[in-house]
Structures are given as C-alpha cells and as structure tokens.
C-alpha cells in the first residue's frame, strides 16, 4: 500500500510539473486540485505506514500469546511489570508528542 501511495504521489508531482503549460485561467484551479490531492495522499501514506507498523507489532504479540497458551504458561509478575513499563513509556511519549503538536498549531 505504501508503494502504491508513493507512486501516486510521484504521478501528482509529474502532473504538477505540467501546470505551467496550462492557460492562466485553468492553472490556478488545476493547482488547487493537485494540492488537495497531494494532501490527501500524504495523510493516507502516514496512516497506511502506521497501520502496517501496528499490524507487525500485534502479530509478534499474538505469536507470544500463542506460545504461552500452548505451554499453559501463567503470566509472571515480571512479565506484567515489563508490559506496564512499555505502556507507561508509550503513553508518556504519546502525550509529549501531542503537546508538541498542540504547541505547533497556530
């Protein structure tokens, strides 16, 4: 999916290069359309990358749980602590990123 989005972005860039060839009246409108399309593609690319990253992490966790289930393993206090440390670090990083995003918003 990321490759497909990248190809579409390259296509848009190529089309943008042809804008000067259009008559003045059409150039502005065509430029606006390409700009909107570019933003939509850029957001789609970010979300697609995020979805792929999450799918890989969930697949790794599922494999770990399947192994636990097969071994009839009872989760230990150390394993719980490690998982909660991960959550605390991720939550902290998320909130920091959100604050940065808010600060950058005009």
């Amino acid at each position: 999916m990321s490759n497909f989005l990248l190809q579409l972005q390259l296509l848009l860039s190529a089309l943008s290069a042809l804008l000067p060839l259009l008559p003045d009246a059409l150039r502005t409108r065509a430029g606006e359309i390409l700009n909107i399309a570019g933003k939509a593609l850029s957001l789609g690319g970010v979300l697609s990358t995020g979805a792929e990253e999450l799918a890989q992490k969930l697949a790794a966790i599922r494999a770990e749980i399947e192994a636990m289930a097969a071994a009839r393993h009872t989760v230990t206090a150390d394993e719980l602590d490690a998982a909660m440390t991960r959550v605390a670090a991720a939550s902290s990083a998320f909130r920091e990123a959100l604050q940065t995003a808010e600060a950058a918003t005009p």
Binding site: M1, A55, L58, I61, R62, E66, V87, S91, E102
Partner: protein
C-alpha cells in the same frame, strides 16, 4: 475545464480510495489467542502498548490534522487509566494464584480459603479486562477510522 467541482470531487475520490483501503484492515488479534484470564490480560496490555506507540507516530506527523490528534488524545486519556486499573486487578490475581500454589501443600481449610480468594481475584480480573477492552477498543476504532488498528 467545464466542471471544475466535478473534477475536484473525482480527484478527491481517487486519492482517498487508497487511504481508506489502508485504514480498514483487519489487524492480528492477540487477545483471541489467549486461553486464560491472565494471558488475556497480558495480551490486552501488550496490544495497548503497541497501539499507543503507533498513535504517537501518527501524532508526530505534521500532515495529520490537529483535530484527529486531539480525538486520539481524548481516547488515550480514557484508555490508559483503565489499563492501569487492570494492572492492579492483575497483580491481585497473581498474588492470589501464588497463595493458592503455596496452600496446595497445606491443610484443606487453608486450601479452600486460598481457592475462594483465587476465584474472587479471577472474577475481578475478568471484569477489569472487559472494562479496559471497551476503552482500548474505542481508541483502536478511532485509529482505524482516522489513523492507523487489537481486535
């Protein structure tokens, strides 16, 4: 260009199609692989960690609208405390389980008390899992809709 708005709508539809296709995927479900409450709770906590890590990546991207980031932030603010409550119930369950294992070498009345405590802790853990799962599902649904997926 006779119909600029039609052209604009077509351009938007064409560009949003791959983005929408990317968002409505079915991610692997670690919780479904669990066979016991402790494994289920562990799978949920780990999945939530992965979800928040991905949410942070999405929030760091300047091309994602601030409204989407704020909505993900509100869902995270609701889900993280419920996962912390789950941790408390999980710890209580692990202590009750350890006490039961120790009591299995003791007399019948000690064993019965330990078994009752373990059953109560297991029930409480199950309720905490359900509550946390609901708030985590909200965040995940938001990520699926706007940005990125533990069903």
């Amino acid at each position: 260009m006779k119909h600029p708005f039609r052209a604009l709508a077509l351009a938007c539809a064409l560009t949003l199609t791959p983005a929408c296709a990317a968002l409505h995927f079915t991610p692997p479900n670690p919780i479904a692989a669990a066979q016991t409450n402790d494994q289920r709770a562990y799978a949920l906590i780990q999945s939530y960690g992965a979800l928040i890590e991905t949410a942070a990546t999405v929030v760091r991207d300047p091309s994602v609208p601030i409204e989407v980031k704020r909505a993900i932030g509100r869902a995270e603010a609701a889900a993280t405390p419920s996962v912390q409550t789950l941790q408390i119930a999980f710890s209580a369950y692990l202590r009750a389980h350890a006490a039961y294992v120790t009591a299995s070498r003791a007399d019948d009345s000690t064993l019965t008390r330990a078994l009752n405590a373990l059953n109560a802790a297991s029930q409480s853990l199950g309720q905490s899992i359900n509550r946390a799962q609901a708030t985590v599902a909200e965040l995940q649904s938001l990520m699926n809709t706007h940005g990125g997926a533990s069903r």
